[in-house]
Symmetry: C2
Subunit: 220 residues, 2 copies
Amino acid sequence: MSSELPEKKRISESTIHRLSMYYRSLSLLQKEGYDTVSSKELAKREKLTPAQVRKDLSFFGSFGTRGLGYDVTELKTKIGEILGIDRQWKVAVIGIGNIGSALVSYKEFSRQGFNIVKLFDNDQRKIGSNHKGLIVSDINNLEKEIAEDGIEMVIITVPATVAQYMVDDVVRAGVKAILNFAPINLKVPSNIYLRNENMSMELEYLSFAIVNNHTPKNMK
Amino acid sequence: MSSELPEKKRISESTIHRLSMYYRSLSLLQKEGYDTVSSKELAKREKLTPAQVRKDLSFFGSFGTRGLGYDVTELKTKIGEILGIDRQWKVAVIGIGNIGSALVSYKEFSRQGFNIVKLFDNDQRKIGSNHKGLIVSDINNLEKEIAEDGIEMVIITVPATVAQYMVDDVVRAGVKAILNFAPINLKVPSNIYLRNENMSMELEYLSFAIVNNHTPKNMK
DNA sequence: AATTTCTTGTGAAGCATTTCACATGAAAAA
DNA sequence: TTTTTCATGTGAAATGCTTCACAAGAAATT
């Protein structure tokens, strides 16, 4: 006999992004001293509709009180659990160039529980150097060190030409998710999560908007 | 008598992002020596469906040849025109901290025609310093210098607490579009385009995916 | 205690986006 | 030249996402 298959709710990417937004608004509301917040207020702060807020939350449960709204601290905790940021994540940065070293000092990451604990580069001049208290490791030890440290997420900021090799290495090392800044389409096994961060794309969107006098439904 | 109102096709954000992707694939195809490409091949490279590719392009015209596909160079040119990257854009970076100074050296920007021509900071130690051949200006001259140079886009990489002031300044100076890295919701007049780049959000998405064993339709 | 006010949670409706499927037409092959 | 193959462009169908609208329930007010 087998247990029920877990119901696979298909949550959209947009919903997850909005959860991140709610989380940030709730942190602010907390600081501002609010105990409760309505979907209306939350929506206003994030330029959304109240229905959207309630629908997003409804995928995960009922967190509010009718007539009153949501308890700020409680909802923040709940969303933190849903997003998996109620814990600390070990993250490695691969490629300590301009972007890579900027990310090492990026406060928002650690604030959300993403702790950069290891840096890698292939440049002999960089290996051994200190960035914010971390020593840059040789990229040749990538697989071994990632596996040893139990690192689950990596950020890839190497040139496009070598990014795929890095991916292959970290996948072998047991990494579960990759945030890629290299402007290239990487191949990963289907059980590995990959996101691409492409900052040029955002400027291209703006360029398109200016040139075409675009009136979008919602600018992100 | 008045001329016809221009037909306001509502192009989705997704379509525009995919155009950026096609553009990049076409650049690569060009380098690889291909003269033509089918929607099938383009789709394969970007992990999309051929129908999606054709539909996206169809919003802007008919660029292909039946039985043959698209001329690589011609399509690339067309998409470049649509995205408005068939020209050079002057961009200023406001806030020369970790992220800001990394972006100054970010090659992808200039490669797509986004030229960073001016840097601003409020820190006396940074003002006057040289980054990749550019001298950091005093943020107090923001409005004047942006207007003088005819800068249309700015990238904001200042702390969240002061970002709104910067926005107000550059809007007065006549900037048309803003790419914001500060984790805050900025207010802009409705004729100004604003995009927010939030790198933590991408890690949060990955975190969610790992924790919930998420199977998304399309990981971006 | 009864009434009013407020706000959630959620099916259903309304929109938007993606995919299907095929007529059309160009190129390649016979 | 004729036939076959290939691949576009596009209405229509399917799917997915957002908004509506309201019953239900909790708090505040009378």
